[in-house]
């Protein structure tokens, strides 16, 4: 390779400006959306917020259930991630990872139907618990809300934590392995330093997701005492046509979640610059003994069951309808409506995934290009805005701004794609932040001295170690858009539905079997998507690893 004197995109501004531009655009969009709503309505009466017992209960409840959900999700995720890191090779590990990736992107109505079949009043688990263990369990109430939130978020958290632990500096891991550190010391010396920088952001992410939860909270909450701020916003906007109340509540939500992100950005995210040189990796000894394999195996088995059972219920429920979806006249041919919906969904989801990954990379690049921590934090927090502003508020606000020009069918699809990309951005960012920040300073300096900048720097320094995280974030970005119902429902679809819209259409007209089949098909499609992206991300890397890593060498038998 011959380096030209100036590499493409090597000017420092190329690293700083595009990301900054995207961040400002997001900020502008959010302010404009909220502002338009406030402008249209009269200024809200803030005292009314604190005066109303109902609104106070809503805010307290929202914070409480989100707090519990975060706590439990992380309590599950940290041990699971450690065990998965300790046991780098066991049959079904890849499958378990795919399932973990899947849970977050499942459309909530599909996931809830699965959860209810297992933990509901007539569920399998409930039956076993009351017959064998004599435990009475009721899913309706805070139990169910937290259970569902753990189902959605613990696997996501474990997945991100696993990635963090696996990318812990090899030098540390090697030293720890040579010293024969026990579990506790291994945790102190290797795992905790790897996990700590990711944890605040992760907690903020899960908190925001649970804080803004809507349909799950209502379905499993048991009654109106389980009302989140999102529900109250919906009520204000759609039921009472009270734009100012909705905007006021949205601001409250933004303040609470935004404050958490600010804290996370301050205490966590910037500390993630750990050195990492690419050397052969060593796994800890802690995971090698028979007992640790047995206990890890059992615990991971329980976790896998927790994920698999609801999916099995979705499978069982969907099978009867699959017949008419794939064999309409006895011979194999995909139901055209289902096929069209699938293609349309992919046409929205793939570009959306690509855009979100691109935007996330640019935002991260601008974060590393500036030494001013304020700019960095602002860009960071801004990227999470799409999660904090209720889509209904943002959508309504934007509608007020661009009133006449929206709603045309093809423009609508482009808009839906853009907004989906925006909604996926926070997740993608969370996945890419660690790996991108972890390039060690020695390599950086060498690269600087050699003048490896711009495109070449990206191609030769970052790409080889980013390939896998990029594939995973592409899968999440696409998967999130594929399962999305909210955005497309908000902007109205032309006559032709996407997969989730088709599902809701079928549900709305009593076509229960067909809906269950569409749900199952969506789950299978998501699983396929994650597997394909996993293969794309792993192919070259795994070859290299086989060549020079002791990790894949046959481990000594202990039993």
């Amino acid at each position: 390779m011959k380096l030209r004197p100036t590499a493409p995109f090597s000017h420092p501004a190329w690293r700083l400006l595009p990301g900054l531009g995207i961040a400002s655009a997001l900020l502008l969009l959010a302010t404009a959306g909220l502002g338009a709503l406030l402008w249209e309505a009269s200024l809200p009466d803030v005292s009314q917020l604190w005066g109303s017992r109902y609104l106070r209960t809503v805010i307290t409840f929202t914070v409480w259930q989100a707090f519990l959900s975060v706590l439990l999700s992380l309590l599950v995720a940290v041990p699971v991630a450690r065990m998965l890191a300790r046991q780098p090779a066991f049959p079904g590990r890849g499958g378990l990872l795919r399932l973990m990736e899947l849970s977050l992107v499942l459309p909530s109505i599909v996931a809830v139907s699965g959860l209810v079949s297992v933990y509901g009043r007539q569920g399998w688990f409930t039956g076993i618990a009351s017959d064998w263990l004599n435990v009475s369990w009721n899913i309706y109430g805070i139990n169910g809300i937290v259970l569902a939130h753990v189902f959605f978020n613990a696997p996501l958290a474990a997945r991100i934590l696993l990635q963090a632990i696996e990318s812990a500096p090899a030098s540390q891991r090697r030293a720890a392995a040579q010293l024969g550190l026990g579990r506790w010391w291994y945790w102190r010396a290797v795992e905790w330093p790897a996990v700590r920088p990711v944890l605040p952001g992760l907690a903020a992410l899960v908190f925001t997701l649970c804080f803004t939860s809507f349909a799950i909270v209502m379905t499993l909450g048991g009654g109106p005492s389980a009302t989140t701020i999102e529900v109250a916003i919906y009520q204000a906007l759609r039921f009472e046509f009270d734009g100012s109340q909705a905007a006021l509540l949205a601001v409250v939500q933004l303040l609470i979640c935004g404050f958490l992100w600010w804290l996370a950005a301050r205490y966590g995210l910037t500390a993630s610059l750990l050195p990492d040189r690419r050397v052969a990796s060593h796994s800890s000894r802690a995971g090698r003994s028979f007992w640790s394999r047995l206990t890890d195996g059992l615990a991971l088995g329980v976790f896998a069951l927790f994920l698999v059972m609801p999916l099995a219920a979705i499978l069982l429920r969907g099978l009867p309808g699959m017949g008419s979806a794939f064999f309409p006249q006895g011979s194999f041919s995909v139901n055209p409506a289902l096929l069209d919906a699938t293609l349309r969904s992919l046409a929205i989801a793939l570009p959306a995934g690509l855009m979100s990954v691109g935007a996330a990379l640019l935002i991260l690049a601008s974060g590393t290009a500036t030494s001013r921590s304020t700019i960095r934090r602002v860009t960071d927090v801004t990227a999470y805005l799409p999660l904090m502003i209720p889509p209904l508020v943002l959508g309504t606000g934007l509608f007020l701004l661009f009133r006449p020009s929206l709603g045309n069918s093809s423009e609508g699809l482009v808009l839906v794609t853009l907004i989906n990309a925006m909604m996926a951005l926070p997740f993608v960012l969370q996945m890419l932040r660690g790996p991108l920040g972890r390039l060690d300073s020695a390599s950086r300096q060498q690269a600087d001295q050699l003048g490896i900048l711009g495109w070449y720097r990206w191609r030769w320094l970052h790409w080889p170690r980013m390939r896998r995280p990029l594939a995973l974030s592409m899968a999440y970005g696409t998967g999130l858009s594929l399962g999305d119902f909210g955005v497309i429902a908000l902007f109205g679809s032309p006559g032709q539905p996407t997969l989730p819209v088709l599902l809701y259409q079928q549900l709305g007209s009593y076509r229960v079997d067909a809906a269950a089949a569409t749900g199952l098909w969506l789950v299978l499609l998501l699983l396929l998507l994650f597997s394909v992206f996993n293969l794309l991300g792993a192919s070259r890397l795994s070859l290299r690893r086989t060549a020079n890593s002791p990790r894949t060498v046959q481990e000594p038998e202990h039993a």
Binding site: Y54, R121, T219, P224, F241, L350, P494, S509
Partner: protein, 334 residues
């Protein structure tokens, strides 16, 4: 990957039918169950296009409430010529936007349980809210609201939230119509029998009721018609309450700012002919707005016949619903 994704996107965009500019296009805002492939939408579109030199285009919004919201947001610049899918709960708010015009349609063919003389809204179907029960789980359901409220607390029911769902609001009005100022006290007694209050009818019906989580769910009196005619099962039936049932009427109206008002009026007139109405019973699973005679599917004769149609006029609903809702919230969270 990139090229493939964009090719797909491009293909989808051109697959969106290009509308011929020579013939006028009637744009109708409606909700998903009307416009679905198996709903009345496609058949109605074909039938109407045969009578007019025009194209019908549906813009699908997720519910009647969303149609109203979209209309409010777009104001006079809306591209809608007609809105179809509002109901007695959203009617008055829609009227107050001032964006809808008079229909000037002859309403004499209407066959509703109440007398209908509205200058703006034309009904296209109607039904009663009712509790649907699973005959295998609950052979003897309570036969009145009183009996339901007095039933032991281990009888569980699923309802929908009046803040987010049409049947949910229907039950709120039903209770208010039957019990008046006593409604809150009755809700408090009913409270412990409510398994959960879902966001939408679909959430409750699909995720919970069809999974056997509770034997009774708030739905429509016409729901069993679908199960009997299409699923061929008698398992799910509606129970007739002695106090009578709350009535829902679904309506359409023309948009004042439309360039195709004549066409929209033609459509409203067409709406009350058998060519439109015959698709309602099984495709929308509601009662047709006109008398279909022999064309009414046989299963409709097996449905419950409420003794009284409970109904508040839409203005009363709009004037009171905020207060009634707050009283409900208060009773349910106390």
């Amino acid at each position: 990957m990139l090229t493939r994704a964009f090719t797909l996107l491009f293909l989808t965009l051109i697959a969106v039918p290009a509308f011929a500019q020579s013939t006028p296009t009637l744009t109708i805002y409606t909700h998903p169950s009307f416009a679905a492939d198996w709903g009345p939408g496609p058949a109605v579109k074909d039938a109407f296009e045969k009578t007019c030199d025009c194209q019908v285009r549906y813009v699908v919004l997720s519910s009647g409430g969303d149609i109203l919201q979209r209309l409010r947001l777009e104001g006079k610049s809306t591209q809608a010529d007609l809105v179809l899918g509002l109901d007695t709960g959203t009617m008055e708010n829609s009227r107050q936007t001032g964006l809808l015009g008079h229909h000037e349609t002859d309403l004499s063919a209407l066959d509703l349980p109440i007398n209908w003389q509205d200058p703006v809204f034309v009904p296209y179907d109607w039904g009663y809210f009712a509790f649907v029960y699973d005959t295998e789980q609950l052979p003897n359901p309570p036969e009145s609201l009183d009996a339901l409220i007095a039933a032991p607390d281990d009888l569980k029911i699923i309802i929908q939230d009046p803040r987010t769902s049409t049947p949910g609001l229907g039950l709120l009005l039903w209770m208010r119509h039957v019990y008046g100022d006593q409604a809150s006290a009755m809700w408090q007694q009913l409270k412990d029998k409510i398994l959960t209050t879902t966001k939408s009818w679909s959430d409750g019906y699909y995720s919970l009721f069809m999974s056997g989580e509770a034997p009774l769910i708030l739905s429509y009196s016409t729901s069993p018609a679908y199960h009997m005619a299409v699923d061929n099962t008698d398992r799910y039936q509606a129970v007739a309450f002695e106090e009578g049932h709350y009535l829902q009427v679904e309506v359409a109206a023309l948009v004042q700012s439309s360039d195709h008002k004549e066409l929209a009026r033609d459509f409203l007139e067409f709406m009350l002919t058998p060519d439109f109405q015959r698709h309602i019973p099984l495709k929308n699973v509601m009662y047709p707005a006109t008398d279909l005679g022999d064309e009414l599917p046989e299963v409709f004769s097996h449905l419950i016949q409420p003794s009284e149609a409970r109904y508040f006029d839409p203005k009363t609903v709009t004037d009171n619903r905020r207060q009634w809702l707050n009283e409900w919230l208060d009773a349910m969270t106390r």
